[in-house]
């Protein structure tokens, strides 16, 4: 009798395992007639797995790609580069197109985890121009295609502060009425980085003494900071809970557009002492099963009209110069999204600091532990 129970239990367990037999994807012959933007239709697969940031691609573009090329784009999202890395490292997730940021690209290349791209397929690379290609993380532009770039300044409610100073002093030495109405990113590199830049150091500084200084600055600032938030910081400023919010370009821009849930008057400011610039890129993991289709998709996204449409949806800056004629001139003129040459000089890339990340984490932990709610 008990034996029966055990048997039932084991069978149940095995049944679960057995009914999980997954068929591997067989590349099917594409439809006989695909759009001319789809490459060689006979080599396309039916499905493509995209692993990207949230709301980082216009759904209409995915639908258009499916209509034109017969490939269904299945999207999965990650919330950080490290999650992306963890999933790729632990294996088993066969994504075809991934969207890592700059420093992560460098790591992926060094670890041999992404595929050199075939620019015969991705011919649209030609339209990108010099400004955003051949960056430090992919010097020969062999492994990635730029996707979007952005900065991490701060959003300001101009209804409260009509003429915001483009300086980190707004948040680090806040006016009394701003105290308690500031939010900073909950990110050890970005926030410690902001402090470092305000103090005149590099955002990739590994000198323990400088980091201590940055920490002390952050601790002193803490009582005026409402929250350290990277997820809902835009909601906070739209709702009026904060007046200044350390945040990424796209979030800030969309926070100022009433049509998408934002509020008039919220502007984005790039501090003059320096600000992070980051760039997200399209890449193909070596474990992808559909590499050709992946590259066709990357090329598709790089067509000027498509890139322009995507840029308007996402709100970030497009590195694709050929796309500029398809982007609203008002956005192109916005120095928050497309920084002036002058501002560009002050922008800094967050680079991998190697083992010093442990020092950063220690500083961040000390800082967090000492501010306590």
């Amino acid at each position: 009798m008990r034996g029966k129970l055990i048997l039932v239990g084991l069978i149940g367990g095995l049944a679960l395992a057995a009914c999980a037999t997954a068929a591997t994807q067989e590349p099917a012959a594409g439809p006989p007639v695909v759009g001319e933007r789809c490459g060689d239709g006979s080599r396309l697969t039916e499905q493509l797995y995209l692993y990207t940031w949230v709301e980082y691609i216009d759904p209409a573009i995915k639908e258009a790609f499916q209509a034109e090329c017969g490939v269904e784009v299945i999207e999965d999202n990650f919330d950080s580069n490290e999650t992306l890395l963890a999933k790729l490292q632990a294996g088993g997730a066969n994504y075809d197109v991934i969207v890592p940021s700059d420093y992560m690209v460098q790591i992926l290349i060094d670890e041999g985890m992404i595929e050199p791209l075939d620019f015969g397929v991705i011919s649209n690379i030609a339209g990108f121009g010099q400004k955003f290609t051949n960056q430090y993380f992919d010097p020969g532009q062999e492994y990635t295609v730029p996707y979007f770039f952005g900065t991490s300044g701060f959003a300001v409610d101009t209804n409260v502060i009509s003429d915001p100073l483009p300086s980190w002093s707004t948040v680090f030495e806040p006016a009394p009425e701003l105290c308690g109405k500031i939010s900073m990113l909950d990110d050890e590199r970005e926030t410690i980085g902001a402090a470092l830049m305000y103090l005149g150091y590099s955002i990739n500084d590994t000198d323990p003494a400088h980091l201590e200084e940055a920490k002390d600055l952050l601790v002193a600032q803490a009582e005026c900071v409402k929250a350290y938030d990277s997820q809902t910081n835009d909601d906070l400023i739209v709702q009026g809970e904060t007046v200044v919010g350390h945040m990424w370009t796209g979030d800030a821009i969309l926070a100022g557009l009433p049509d998408v849930g934002g509020r008039e008057g919220i502007a984005y400011v790039i501090p003059q002492e320096g600000c992070t610039i980051w760039q997200d890129n399209l890449a193909v993991p070596v474990t992808s099963q559909n590499k050709y289709t992946a590259m066709v998709f990357i090329n598709y996204l790089s067509y000027p009209e498509v890139a322009g449409q995507n840029a308007e949806f996402v709100g970030y800056g497009s590195p694709n110069e050929a796309a500029y004629e398809f982007i609203d001139p008002a956005i192109l003129a916005d120095p928050g999204v497309y920084p002036t040459e002058e501002a560009f000089a002050g922008l800094q890339w967050i680079e991998d600091v190697g083992d010093s990340i442990e020092l950063y984490d220690r500083i961040w932990t000390e800082f967090k532990a000492s501010i306590g709610g």
């Binding site: 008990r2 034996g3 129970l5 055990i6 239990g9 084991l10 367990g13 950080s80 490290e82 999650t83 890395l85 963890a86 490292q89 790591i107 992926l108 060094d110 670890e111 909950d186 990110d187 050890e188 590199r189 803490a222 900071v225 409402k226 929250a227 350290y228 938030d229 997820q231 809902t232 709702q239 009026g240 809970e241 190697g354 083992d355 990340i357 442990e358 950063y360 984490d361 220690r362 961040w364 932990t365 000390e366 967090k368 532990a369 501010i371 306590g372 709610g373």
Partner: protein
Amino acid sequence: MSGRAEHRSRGPLIVVPAAIWLILFFTLPLLIVVAISFAERGRAGGVRLPLVFTLEYYQRLVDPLYLGIFWSSVRIALVVTLACVLVGYPMALFISRVAPRRRNAMLLLVIIPFWTNFLVRTYALKLLLSAEGVVNNLLLGAGLVEAPLDLLFNNFAVVLGLVYGYFPFAVLPMYASIEKFDMTLVEAATDLGANLRRAFLRIMLPLTAPGIIASVILVFVPVVGAFITPDIMGGGKVEMIGTLINRQFGVARNWPFGSAMSLALMLMVVVGVIYYLRSSQESERLI
């Protein structure tokens, strides 16, 4: 007679399915984590291959900073557990005294809010507690306060959020115990001259203790390692061991350190639980 002796020796076999499941899908994966905790950090997170043995990360844990964070997490967890048990016990009692037909309905009533999505619930809670939220409006309107209270982004918010999230974990086990408690024992005691308080402390409490103990374990233990709720409700200002561990697998790209921390946490909690179980009345029965 022989039948019973026979089944006594076969009896323990009923734990086999769970044993196999947990050994396969929990203990073995855990061994991987143990291995990682003794390895060196790889550049891209993960571990450096070929594997190199090191105690570095365990040694690093013995540091006032980390011990302090662990301790404050324990404190928060204790407060949350206390609140859950204090409110949950009377609730479980109430449900068990309700007409038998309605008991299951009430249990469902308690648990159904938790079938909505956790994030949505937490954001709704945040909304209620915000400076312009319902709670502050009520307090202002009733004239109890002059300015909106800071109900968010502090320890209070974290505790409230955790109590909210783990309340059913307290009610259900205590209900299981209280429901089978025979109230006539209390009535007999009061008939014999004891006042209610005495009857409760001397009779009801000891006999429903297993449920309370189970509640304490099911609330305290997960709460110590919680991180999403403290993150959202605390506005990144309340550092708990869970946020710390999570960061090691995230931005800090330090899996060995995160693993060492997790194992240390697990060890301390398990030791604490076993000690707690041994020293409480029904200990021999539960271990």
